[in-house]
């Protein structure tokens, strides 16, 4: 493990009841890279992210084994799971505007972490909304409901919320599934900006999106790593594994 490793996963296994969905995978994610994860649904991508920030704890029948280290610390031995979750921004597939005002949507996490000063909160809210490329559209109606925004705006609000606890890692789980291509491209531009400040884990169904953005990409299939490597190799005509080529080029999957 080099000093630039941000997330180190060793022999991770996950089972829901008796059904194992991740079969012992190991990989590293480097600091400040965009790490793409591709694969069909049911391949374990979302479950992997939930192990990372330990929201898997809310699924009682889930059994996890193996080690996940974030900045060298074993996440499953960490005492302060909330600090872990604040370190990792998580964006879900479907946009979730909380039924609160736009301001409160973004201020929720800092408040939960104990921040009360209005000036500080104002600053964070503006900064996060700017980072998520939403500020110009909502700055005059911060009191209107987050749930009343359009789908694309809600997804950017979700990203702003994920940034509001100042994470070092940003995980996006198929963020473009419910939004239009133009908004998708805007968010992709946002990600290119954000990569200077944080590590980005990009789970996506769109192989082209991983090809556009990711430095390295991992191809998951049925809970196992088929191939992991630099995106320019993985998406070339000659990836290490024939299956990768077929999946990426739509020959199967």
């Amino acid at each position: 493990m080099t000093s630039d490793t941000q997330i180190a996963v060793q022999d991770l296994r996950l089972a829901y009841g008796h059904k194992e969905v991740i079969h012992g995978i190991s990989f590293d994610i480097q600091r400040n890279e965009i790490f793409g994860i591709i694969g069909p649904s049911q391949s374990g991508k979302t479950s992997l992210l939930r192990c990372l920030n330990r929201t898997i704890d809310f699924t009682p029948e889930a059994r996890v084994s193996g080690v996940i280290r974030v900045d060298g610390e074993d996440v499953r031995k960490g005492r302060d799971v909330f600090a872990l979750r604040r370190k990792i921004g998580m964006v879900a597939p479907l946009p979730v505007g909380l039924p609160k005002s736009i301001y409160d949507n973004v201020a929720f996490a800092p408040r939960c972490a104990g921040m009360t000063r209005k000036s500080q909160l104002d600053e964070i809210v503006e900064q996060c909304l700017r980072q998520a490329a939403l500020w110009d559209e909502v700055k005059d109606r911060m009191d209107s409901l987050g749930t009343k925004l359009s789908g694309g705006q809600q997804q950017r609000l979700t990203i702003a919320r994920a940034l509001s606890h100042q994470p070092q890692i940003l995980c996006l789980d198929e963020f473009s599934i419910a939004i239009d291509p133009v908004t998708t491209m805007r968010i992709e531009d946002v990600l290119k900006e954000l990569r200077k400040d944080m590590t980005i884990v990009l789970v996506t169904n769109l192989t082209q999106q991983a090809r556009r953005l990711a430095d390295r990409t991992m191809f998951l299939w049925d809970g196992e790593i088929v191939e992991l490597g630099r995106s320019d190799v993985l998406f070339s005509d000659h990836p290490a594994n024939r299956k990768t080529y077929e999946y990426v080029n739509g020959i199967f999957g």
């Binding site: 920030n53 929201t55 809310f58 009682p60 909330f82 600090a83 872990l84 979750r85 604040r86 921004g89 998580m90 879900a92 479907l94 979730v96 505007g97 909380l98 039924p99 609160k100 929720f108 996490a109 939960c112 972490a113 409901l145 749930t147 979700t158 919320r161 994920a162 509001s164 606890h165």
Partner: protein, 294 residues
């Protein structure tokens, strides 16, 4: 191409018949309500007046008003819900938000469901044993209210859980993802968005608590209690009290020579106050729904 064939005509006829059968069954629900209310009002009419509400019964309860019973019912309902609503809501939050699926929580669920199915006369006996004798509260408002509280508790738990479950899980996950604790999630998102359903469920229990006779008859309601006309605070907690449902039962079966319209007027007051409270619940729900946030 679109010409009617005999087959099409037969299907349309069946469609019409089916629709009218279903409609008439649904519409027939209105009939008993109108009959009950109409009949009660017609028989009660000679006695209905404002003074009937605030007068005390006179001449051995054969004349006068129902003030002591009205106040007694308000006492019982308010105190019982003051006990059962907080306990019920907190229990429901635990069961819906915290409880994992293990044997102990299944046991709690089973207890709640079965408690809801216990007949009120059995609640009455339990209240008599537990509050009147074992806890030494005696025949009193406090015993009767606690008995009513136990009776309404499981329904409040059920309605609160339903209200909590109507908040989408994705909201909770969004909160957990940003590092909120369960309690921060509940306070910040779940409760504010389920409070309308919770309140409606509680208010609807007013009618049950006000209408039950057996539980209070065994534990703290009396035939007659001397009270000043219009006195707002005639009872202490350890006093026995009169109540509308009990009063109606007494007038109808125990007291000879009651002016005929008085029991009916008592029933109208009981029914009217319950409908009034239910209407308030419906209006509250409609108002809060109109502000629904997603």
């Amino acid at each position: 191409m679109f010409a009617e064939t005999p087959l099409v005509r037969r299907k349309q006829r069946q469609e019409t018949i089916a629709k009218w059968i279903f409609f008439s069954m649904a519409a027939s629900m209105i009939v008993p309500l109108i009959l009950i209310v109409g009949y009660l009002f017609q028989r009660a009419w000679p006695s209905l007046s404002l003074s009937f509400l605030i007068d005390v019964p006179t001449h051995g309860m054969t004349e006068g008003g129902i003030w002591p019973a009205l106040v007694g019912t308000i006492y019982l309902v308010v105190i019982s819900l003051a006990v059962s609503a907080p306990i019920g809501v907190l229990a429901a939050v635990y069961l819906n938000e915290y409880a994992r699926d293990n044997w102990f929580n299944r046991l709690i669920n089973l207890a709640v469901i079965n408690l809801a199915g216990v007949p009120s006369i059995v609640h009455a006996l339990f209240g008599l044993g537990a509050f009147v004798y074992a806890a030494r509260f005696g025949y009193s408002i406090i015993s009767a209210s606690l008995t009513l509280a136990i009776m309404t508790l499981p329904v409040i738990i059920a309605s609160t859980r339903e209200a909590l479950a109507s908040v989408p899980r994705s909201f909770r996950e969004a909160c957990w993802n940003v590092g909120a604790t369960r309690w921060q999630t509940i306070r910040g998102v779940v409760l504010p968005n389920s409070i309308s359903g919770i309140l409606t469920g509680i208010i609807l229990q007013v009618s049950r608590a006000a209408g039950e006779t057996a539980p209070i008859m065994f534990t703290g309601a009396v035939f007659y209690k001397a009270v000043q006309k219009g006195d707002l605070f005639p009872y202490h907690l350890q006093d026995q009290c009169m109540a509308l449902s009990m009063h109606l039962y007494t007038l109808a079966t125990q007291v000879p020579g009651v002016k005929e319209s008085i029991p009916f007027a008592t029933a109208v007051v009981l029914l009217g106050s319950v409908l009034l409270v239910n209407a308030a619940a419906i209006i509250l729900r409609a108002y809060l729904r109109s502000r629904k946030k997603w």
